[in-house]
Symmetry: C2
Subunit: 128 residues, 2 copies
DNA sequence: ATCGGATATCGATGGCTGTCAATATCGACG
DNA sequence: CGTCGATATTGACAGCCATCGATATCCGAT
């Protein structure tokens, strides 16, 4: 029984086009556990949670949330989080692709700002 | 700079003792983004999100939430989720270890029930 | 006691991911 | 335009994980 496995190697997890994971979630998944959801909706939701599924990213998000104006320069995050600069850049990109933060270049520096709608969308998906 | 990497290969991610991830989160992380959090708190939170970071687990949780009494037998989940029985069992164990569901054996069957407090704890951690 | 169905565990395997050093890019400032 | 500081990208490597088949365990029924 159960011959219906998933032969395709997770092609669904690649970002479809340009939309962030949060944007896709807002578009498709109002309440994950209040109604039946499709495979695609589950993929979208899992992508958002995956962005939060690493201690470094949780800390980075928390530190950004703590900062003034809820935004922080990369250079101010490297030392507190205790990781190499490329690693921090990588994690911030994951958060960016998920739609949890937005980036703004100001001079030589890159500022990452919290997107408040994102956390709200997650809370609503978990059943407001 | 940034010579302080993490030499230990993620030993922190192993479950400390018996407490589920949700229990640990309820004990330590009232609001992840409302105050400064420690490395340990980030690890705990990431562990919960990791349990949700897979499409199969999101679907399973959603299906359990949909079911009567918010509980479902494993045998009723295998065919809808479209995965082999060992895989479903594995995912349910992950959700169980995270504290998102609880298990009850009734005869030959194993029933997994949603733990409502869990989703509430996550929502609160994301900023009530 | 045995059988059979339901569930869990084991072992293997391929893909994904976090990490860093090295390097490239980008923007300001001489 | 060349340099320098800040950030991003690349390439490599190690560990983790989703998945399955095979097998073990658990439990009711015969």
């Amino acid at each position: 029984m159960s011959k219906n496995s998933t032969p395709q190697p997770l092609a669904l997890l690649d970002s479809p086009v340009d939309a962030t994971a949060i944007a896709a979630m807002q578009a498709c998944c109002p309440d994950l556990f209040g109604e039946a959801i499709s495979e695609e909706e589950a993929v979208v939701a899992a992508r958002v949670f995956k962005a939060l599924a690493d201690p470094a990213r949780v800390r980075l998000l928390s530190m950004i949330a703590q900062a003034d104006q809820q935004e922080a320069c990369v250079c101010d995050l490297i030392e507190p989080v205790g990781l190499a600069q490329p690693t921090v850049s990588h994690h911030l990109k994951v958060l960016l692709d998920a739609g949890l933060v937005e980036r703004e270049r100001r001079g030589s520096w890159a500022y990452y700002r919290l997107k408040p709608d994102a956390l709200l969308a997650i809370r609503r998906a978990l059943g407001a």
